[in-house]
Structures are given as C-alpha cells and as structure tokens.
Subunit: 310 residues, 2 copies
C-alpha cells in the first residue's frame, strides 16, 4: 500500500461536524468557526531526521524547512497564516544550542510572515529528531482555492523552476504566500496545489480531485539549474526534464485558470514578482491522465512520471 492509498483508506470514515467546509484531501482543512468574513485553514506537517534532513543539516535550516512546508500549504489555498504550535520529538541529551538555532530559523521565517508561535510540546523520540508543526490560518470566504476546481481548457501554470531541490533549495525555499494571495485577489484561480511530491504527482492530485486530464508542453516546463547541472555531472542522474517532472520538494505553486485569463496572469505576475519565474506549461483536457507534447508528438506520462525518452 502506498502512502496515498493508506491515507485514502484511513480517511474514508472520519467523524465530521458542522464546522467542516473541507476535510482531509486538500492542502489544508477548511473550517467555518463563525468569523463573519473568513474561514479557518488548519494544517500539520512533520519533518524527521534521516528522511527530510540529515544529522548534518544546520539546525536553523531544519527549523526553516519545517515551518516553510506548512506555510506552503496555506499558500496553496491562498490563505494567510496566523499561528503555529511546534511539537519536538527529541533524542535524550539533545544539544540545547542546536535547539536554539532550530528555533531561530523557525522564528525568523514566522516573523517575516507575521506568524505567531504560540507554544507546543516536547516529547522523547529516542533515535532521531522529529519536528511536527501545526498551523492555523485564515482565508476570505469564497477565496479558498481547492484542488477540485480545474476545468477542461484551463491553462496550467507553475511558479519557479523545478527539479533538483534536494541539492539545497528544499532547506531554504520561500513559501509563495504573497504570490498566492495576489493571484486570488486579482484572478479567478480554478485550482491550486503546492508542489511537494513533484510536478507530475501533484498535478495528478488536481486531476483526480477535478476528474479531468492534462496535456503538458515539454519545452515549457521550467527546469532548475540544479537539475541540469546534476544531469551533466552524474551519468546516473535523471535527465533534467524527468527531474523537473518527478523530483519532490519544489514547494512551488501549481494552478489553473481559464485560458482567456492566461495572458493577464503572466503580464500581471511579471510586474508584481519580477524575480520569480512563472510558466504556462500546458492545458487541462477532458480526458484522463497526463500527456506530454514534444517534437515526437503527444505521449502519455506513466504513473511515476517516467516517459520513454527516445
């Protein structure tokens, strides 16, 4: 059973109540707690030593990454983060100075987005450091962007450059909170997700939630410098396009808009965020699955993002 099958299995029959607007299955849960003009976003995420960082990762980057991942999920709903709780699983005799640096990285990022850190919990996790973050945010009623709103004909956009994040970007990335809120304020964004599992995998989450397919233009997919460098340096590395399609932890925004809004989105973005690349990489189709168009024509993308590169 994969992680996604397991989650699907466990979340079939979760208890709900009248506060729930959107339960499990999107980037954040959406709750109606009776705030007149806003809904509440609720998210947790955990990073574990040996899985999401190593014992050599600078602690301030661990703190940054742990919080940034959660903030990226609030961004994916076009929300505004408000407050976080930090749960630490600590091996015995964990270095206090390291913990201070971990908090420094977290506090700096929190301050820069006006997020309060309002406490948390420490517990023992004997073999390895684990940092779990719970995050609360809000979003204007009617402005939360779900995965499920994509429509055939929509233009598909992605921010930044993809692939090779594990070379370092995954520890330092800036969650796209400003960009996402700007999008939601100025355009009708049909669907959005943040890239954590890789472009192909996360696009599939949108397609599944929206019951549609997609056609990507190979030459339009923005490939990161790291993915190109790594492909040149190591013969065993993924080809750059494959890295951009399948590498995880990009934490960029993937979203869809009506095709007639596409030019306006690109022009507006360029003026507003001149340093962040935005690419129109394809369109939503009525079919199923993802197809990739390149010089050889149109070919289906396999479940793992692999295509036959002839």
């Amino acid at each position: 059973m994969t992680e996604f099958e397991l989650i699907h299995h466990l979340t079939r029959t979760l208890p709900g109540n009248q506060s729930v607007v959107t339960g499990s299955g999107d980037d954040c849960a959406v709750l109606d707690l009776g705030i007149p003009d806003r809904l509440v976003l609720f998210k947790t995420d955990a990073v574990v030593e040996g899985v999401h960082f190593t014992s050599q990762t600078p602690p301030s980057q661990i703190g940054h990454k742990a919080l940034a991942r959660c903030l990226s999920d609030i961004a994916a709903m076009a929300g505004t983060p408000v407050a976080a709780l930090i749960t630490l699983g600590l091996p015995p005799k964990f270095d206090v100075q390291k913990l201070e640096m971990l908090y420094e990285g977290m506090n700096r990022l929190a301050s820069s987005h006006d997020v309060a850190i309002v406490g948390g919990e420490t517990t023992t996790n004997p073999e390895r450091l684990l940092v779990s973050i719970a995050l609360l945010g809000t979003v204007s009623r009617g402005k939360a962007i779900l995965r499920s709103g994509a429509k055939p004909g929509d233009a598909i956009f992605v921010s930044g450059e993809l692939g090779g994040s594990l070379a370092g970007r995954h520890l330092e990335f800036e969650p796209r909170l400003l960009e996402a809120r700007w999008l939601a304020e100025h355009f009708t964004i049909h669907s959005m997700i943040d890239l954590s599992d890789g472009l192909a995998g996360d696009l599939r989450h949108i397609l599944k939630a929206s019951h549609i397919g997609a056609e990507l233009l190979s030459s339009a997919i923005p490939i990161s410098r790291e993915a190109r460098v790594s492909a040149k340096a190591e013969s065993s590395a993924k080809p750059p396009l494959l890295a951009a399609l399948t590498d995880g932890e990009d934490f960029e925004l993937l979203f869809t808009v009506r095709s007639r809004d596409a030019v306006g989105v690109l022009d507006g973005w360029k003026k507003q965020f001149p340093k962040v690349r935005l690419s129109c990489i394809g369109k939503i189709t009525a079919g199923e699955g993802i197809c990739l168009r390149d010089k050889q024509g149109l070919r289906p993308l396999s479940a793992h993002g692999y295509v036959h590169f002839s």
Copy 2:
C-alpha cells in the same frame, strides 16, 4: 536542564502577533480570530511508543489516549473542542490493521465529543510509532480559564481519584470536558489545569503562574484504588499518598474558586456528576510553595512531591 526549563528557555522570545491572547505557558494557546463571541483554543500533543505506551498496547487505546490527552487540555480551559488533525510517524511496514484500530479508538472518542477529524499527515519514524495530534477548540469570550487567576484564600478542588494511572487508566480516561464547561458556566473559576504531571507538579504550575502558594490537607486528597493496591502488593511501590501527589497522567481537573463558593460547587457537582468524585483538598495561601497538613502538623512539600513520611 529539565523539560520545563528547556521549554521556558526556548519560549522566551517567540514571535507574536495581534491574534495572540495567551501564547505558550498555559494548557492551550488562546487566539482572537475575530469570531464575535468566542476565542479559539489551539493545542498539540504527541504520544510515542516506549514512552507513553508500549508495543503491546492495543492500538485502539493508543488512538484514544492520544486524542484524550489533547481534549483534556481543552477541558482545562473550559473550552469546546472542534476539529483535530492527526500526524502519524510510522515505522516501515506498519500493520494497516493496527492503524485502522488506532483510528477506531480515536474516531470513537472524537464522535462522542462532536470533534471532526479533518485530515493530517503520515511520515516515516523508523524505530517507533509516534502520534501527534493538533486540536482546535473554542471558548466563550471571557470564559477561558487560565492557570494564572488563583488568589489567596481560594479553595482548591480536584476531580476523580489520583495516582496509579499507569496501571491502565491512562489509556482509557474520559477527558473532563462536560465537567469543565459546567463549572465555567455556573461558577467563577479562578484557575484550572488538567493533571498530567501529577497533583504536586501541576499545582505548582498554577502557583507559579499566579504567584502564590498552597496548603493541602493530607486526608482530603483522593487516592485511587490502584495506588492503594499497588502499595500493598509491592514493597518498593510508592506509599499511596505519595502516588496521589506525584504520579502523572491522571488527567483530572485541578481548579480553584473563592472559598465562599466552595460548598455550592460541591453540592452542584454532586447533583450534576454523581459518578465523578470531587474533593476540596486545601486552600491557596499568600506564601510560596506547597505545604501539606496532616496529624503531625504543617510541612513543606519538596520539589518532587516527596515528603518525609515519619
């Protein structure tokens, strides 16, 4: 450095913002998100295999305990829980059936308190199961009960019977949500906390937050049957009173009220909750620390709850 010193150290300089009513240092964080008549309560808590349960603990009890601990913190503020997110740290090849049973225990408890489970996160924690819960609740404005409101002369109350929880009660306890809300609705409760570290330790949290002391009446402290049985069965076990003062994980309510309200609280409670014992165990004093009164007179209780039993 103890856990409490570490937490104090790390939480000196956390970033805040205008939503924060009460940050770290109480049972829950309290946030003002603009709900007209209510404030938001926010809490996380984690249980870890080998620390809070064993590899032999029935998974449904692990799920129950994980959520019940968090609910107990909402109870300690007289709040109403609303929605939870579940973060699982799983060893590879963790048994899916076990996970289903874990969720069963959690879902059952959540349903019985009208709490929605709105998603969460699974990650790898190779050596042991870890369950971290994030919980949102609400409380009427002006009705959240903090640790910091105790006043000299207050009567000190505790629900249930104390000590020996690890014999089994810690896996099955019912969080005192109804009782706490009833107290807040009918009386002016000056301070409240739920017992997780033991009566003496948790009373000290109230005393420290309120800058006062306490005098406990030895004969009034409700000792659980388990603590008595264990003291008789094992010569190395704690004396029952010491167990009631210092054993952790009771998850009962400890609270203080004006002395003139004490009889009313006792009478009302007996009618409302005839099956749950409520004991008046002493009074708040202007001094510092905890003193214990018994046949031999009044003696200070040491930092670890130990007294010289002559």
